[in-house]
């Protein structure tokens, strides 16, 4: 017996039951909620660290301001407690703090007696510039080196990945001194003391960019060599494309996704890494603010920097997610 089923409308198999939000919008909303949770967590942790420190906070504040360590009278402490709201229950202090953050108020510095936001905003520009230049330099170095050496003969490949590994492991402090000795003191190409000029940023940025380039290079190289053997690359060669063109126009796009992920992490890490480099090259920036604040126990400033770094991480990772879907459009649907 032969049974047949008559043709049916094509859409019969597709039950139309769509969710309210489109998946794309829902993903963006999810990301924003997650970002807010991360920021709130970082801010709370910073607040709890202040509370957990030993000693009376009002006394600490007075000592920080005067630069002397001594016992304070209750009258002195009362005015400080009133100024910073320290007499309130911890929960109220916490809510005040979070409320301030929501309004963009990071509190008042113990030492300088002025808003933390003012202190940070004076210095943050230099650090963000350094971060941006570092990232660009790292990408340029990495792409140049990987494109040049990946997927070549055995010896060149070994050299390529060897350099990746060595540079990825270089300590920035040591590398910075080396660059200073060679290019600033020895050859005199760049100023010894950084400043904010264009030539002053090259050595500090290189100090951070070289290890980062090595690190990203390791991740990119694997994908690069895998993509080089893909069938669509053979198709491109069969079209008459040159090897360099293939590497730049086809392979790179497939190979850089891991490096994009690392860049999100690197933006945050570079701000932290700036502490060492800025003191080494005597550059202004958030690093020097942080060192001074930690030295003098100026907790609102430390907290402010922590929240700022956390915010940078969050923004960087949102950008990474965005870059992902631009580089690989297939991810929009998955």
């Amino acid at each position: 017996m032969t049974r047949t089923l008559s043709s049916r409308p094509a859409d019969a198999a597709t039950a139309a039951r769509r969710p309210i939000l489109s998946p794309r919008v829902r993903r963006i909303v999810e990301k924003l909620v997650a970002a807010a949770v991360v920021l709130w967590g970082a801010a709370t942790a910073a607040f709890l660290a202040q509370i957990a420190l030993p000693g009376d906070r009002a006394t600490t504040i007075l000592n920080v301001r005067s630069g002397q360590t001594q016992l304070r009278t209750p009258e002195e402490l009362a005015s400080i407690n009133a100024e910073y709201g320290l007499q309130n229950p911890i929960l109220v202090q916490y809510l005040d703090y979070v409320g301030g953050l929501l309004r963009g108020d990071l509190g008042v510095s113990y030492q300088q007696h002025r808003p933390v936001w003012g202190i940070i905003s004076e210095q943050v520009g230099a650090t963000l510039t350094l971060t941006a230049v570092t990232l660009v330099l790292a990408w340029v170095l990495m792409i140049f080196w990987v494109t040049l050496t990946a997927g070549r003969g055995t010896k060149i490949r070994a050299l390529g990945s060897g350099v990746d590994t060595v540079t990825a492991g270089l300590p920035p402090y040591w590398l910075g001194i080396l660059l200073l000795l060679v290019f600033a003191l020895g050859l005199g190409w760049f100023p010894v003391i950084g400043g904010t000029g264009v030539d002053g940023i090259v050595l500090p940025a290189l100090t951070l960019a070289i290890p980062l380039a090595g690190f990203m290079g390791q991740a990119t190289r694997t994908e690069f060599e895998r993509s080089l053997t893909a069938p669509f690359i053979i198709t491109a060669r069969m079209r008459g494309m040159s090897d360099l063109n293939i590497r730049l126009r086809h392979v790179l796009r497939h190979a850089i996704l891991p490096a994009v992920t690392l860049s999100g992490w690197a933006i945050g890490a570079t701000i932290s890494g700036a502490v060492i480099v800025e003191s080494l090259f005597t550059r202004p920036g958030i690093g020097s603010v942080l060192i001074t604040a930690v030295d003098s126990q100026d907790l609102p400033v430390v907290t402010g920097v922590v929240v700022l770094v956390a915010a940078t991480y969050v923004v960087a990772n949102l950008l990474v997610d965005l870059a992902y879907t631009v580089i690989d459009p297939r991810m929009r649907n998955s």
Binding site: R18, P19, M238, R239, G240, D328, R330, S334
Partner: protein, 586 residues
């Protein structure tokens, strides 16, 4: 020096082979790969002429040197290749001594190259229009605006409807047929005099394959010379004028398509022709007999279920929905029912996305159906929890298309097979080892493979190990999910023969899932034809293949290539011009 005749002044192109100019002549081509100073030859003494509007096919198994030959002709043999030829001439040009720059000017412009499956042969991150445009840009064709227009013309010329929209889509957003057409459009963008097609239809559904073959035929009619590479003689049968049969790097037989197909001289060619499964080959062997004595083993008796004589597997009203990435729900399996008798083979045939593999997974109780039930040996199977299923698990096993991904790469054959023996069935290590050796003998493998790892086995050997593993628990039913689809025709023939032997020997029931109608018609007693989750037709193999009732079944049968060189594959109007909605992004 030879002069190229202008085809437009030729008095009638179909006049005879002698009147046509030779576009490509290969004389005594030898290719080897050097490794640590020694050269391993992979192609020996290949010679042929490719004339205008002619198709030369090179047929052979993987590793026969056919693809290396094709790539040598565009100067992309590889880094360690040693090429030595008496002469390779493309028109007036000598291809044996070209600079990289000269090669690039020939690739894409004078020789187009089509690889298999456009899903991986076109850049998956870029719209197909950009890929086609790239071929034009590389050779400095036209300006930006005229290139854009040309891309649309090209897509239209290969039968892509609504080219303006399709050009903006990526390969993964297009159906298999449309993206393969886009790949072809990128290869013929500059109207090359020669097109090399290396397995252009492998991994494609049969109707898509038919569309691609028709397109190649059309190009040939308009004067393009085609070098067609395939492991499957039936694919090249009606397109090729000349056929070279390659094995182990050598041409074992060469001649006109007619003489090769109707009067093959070399045993290897005869074997290749006999290896093609079809309705006519049912009950006969596809491969030359192997020296493997049937092994009788008492271990395969299913004592506890031997008396059961109802259907061993019975599915009723199976439904399974999946949620698509855009959130909509699609029925992958819709009201599918079947029953499988003892010792019977039920074939399920359909194209990718028809729901046949999901049906198999539900039958194996690896997937829960949204509705419907499956009964195994007359007992509840789909409706009971997994803990209670375990008792029956050994009655049904499965062989997949690619055993490499279902083997632990760090386990050797012995460990794979020992692991597959049912727990507690064999008391001593000696008994277990004896059983493993018996399983190997049953699938025709020597004991020497015991200590080899999956990567060290050939494709055919791996599939035999997969079958041995499926047999290890002495099942009543084996589900074969595209089990021979990744194999060359000659290896496929051996595996199909083995499956028939094992079925006879042990009274096995097969649920045989394939997109290949030839294989299905060779193997099956009864057949289900699936499309878009529905069973559109079911019946005995003879009914389905001699008197198909449903238009879709007829379309599938018409698209099936056969060894009959006069039989041209046909494509229904609906398939040759896909509807505008096909392949649109979700």
């Amino acid at each position: 020096m030879m002069t190229i005749l202008d085809s437009s002044v030729l008095p009638g192109i179909g006049q005879g082979p002698a009147a046509r100019p030779v576009r490509l002549s290969v004389n005594n081509l030898n290719v080897g790969f050097s490794h640590h100073g020694t050269v391993r030859p992979v192609v020996r003494n290949v010679s042929f002429n490719l004339e205008e509007g002619q198709c030369v096919a090179i047929v052979g198994e993987s590793g026969s040197g056919k693809s290396v030959t094709a790539r040598t002709l565009v100067g992309l043999t590889g880094q360690h290749a040693v090429v030595d030829a008496g002469g390779i001439r493309l028109g007036d040009d000598d291809l044996t001594a070209l600079s990289p720059k000269r090669w690039r000017s020939i690739r894409g412009r004078r020789i187009g190259f089509i690889l298999q499956d456009a899903l991986v042969s076109l850049d998956p991150l870029r719209p197909v229009g950009k890929e086609i445009e790239e071929a034009l840009t590389l050779h400095g064709w036209g300006d930006r605006a005229s290139r854009k227009r040309k891309v649309l013309d090209l897509l239209a010329s290969v039968g892509v409807p609504a080219p303006r929209n399709r050009a903006r889509q990526r390969p993964d957003e297009l159906s298999g047929g449309l993206r393969q057409r886009a790949l072809i459009a990128s290869a013929i963008a500059l109207d090359p005099e020669i097109v090399i097609a290396d397995e252009p239809t492998t991994a494609l559904d049969v109707t898509v394959q038919a569309q691609v073959l028709l397109l190649l035929e059309d190009m040939k009619r308009r004067g393009t010379s085609i070098l067609l590479i395939s492991h499957d003689l039936s694919v090249v049968a009606h397109l090729a004028d000349q056929i070279l049969v390659m094995s182990g790097g050598e041409v074992v037989e060469q001649g006109t398509a007619h003489s090769i197909l109707t009067d093959p001289q070399h045993p290897y060619t005869q074997g290749l022709i006999n290896a093609v499964p079809s309705r006519d080959t049912r009950g006969s062997r596809l491969a030359p007999a192997r020296e493997v004595a049937p092994v009788h083993t008492a271990a395969h008796a299913n004592d506890d279920h031997a008396g059961f004589d109802g259907p061993v597997l019975e599915a009723t009203g199976l439904v399974k929905h999946f949620t698509a990435p855009d959130g909509s729900r699609t029925a992958a399996v819709n009201d599918v029912s079947f029953s499988l008798g003892r010792g019977e083979t039920l074939g399920i045939v359909g194209e990718s996305g028809s729901g046949k593999s999901t049906t198999a997974r539900i039958a194996l109780a690896l997937e829960n159906a949204d509705a419907g039930t499956v009964r195994l040996l007359g007992q509840d199977w789909s409706a009971i929890p997994e803990t209670r299923r375990r008792r029956l698990r050994k009655q049904i096993s499965v062989v997949y298309q690619d055993p490499l991904s279902s083997f632990d790469p760090r386990w050797n054959t012995e460990r794979i097979l020992l692991d597959s023996l049912p727990a507690g069935a064999f008391a001593t290590a000696a008994q277990r080892r004896e059983r493993v050796l018996a399983l190997l003998a049953q699938v025709g493998l020597p004991d020497s493979v015991l200590h080899r790892f999956p990567l060290q086995l050939s494709g055919g050997q791996r599939q035999r190990v997969a079958i041995a593993r499926a047999l290890a628990p002495s099942p009543s039913i084996v589900v074969l999910d595209e089990a021979v689809s990744a194999l060359d025709v000659s290896i496929q023939a051996q595996i199909l023969d083995l499956l028939v032997d094992l079925q006879r020997q042990f009274g096995l029931s097969y649920l045989f899932i394939s997109h290949d109608l030839g294989v299905i018609s060779h193997m099956s007693d009864r057949v289900l034809v699936m499309k878009d989750g529905f069973v559109v037709e079911s019946g005995t193999a003879d009914q389905i293949f001699t008197a198909p009732a449903h238009p879709y079944t007829k379309e599938l049968l018409g698209a099936l290539p056969t060894l009959d060189e006069n039989h041209s594959v046909s494509v229904s109007p609906a398939a040759s011009v896909p509807p505008a909605t096909e392949g649109s992004a979700p």
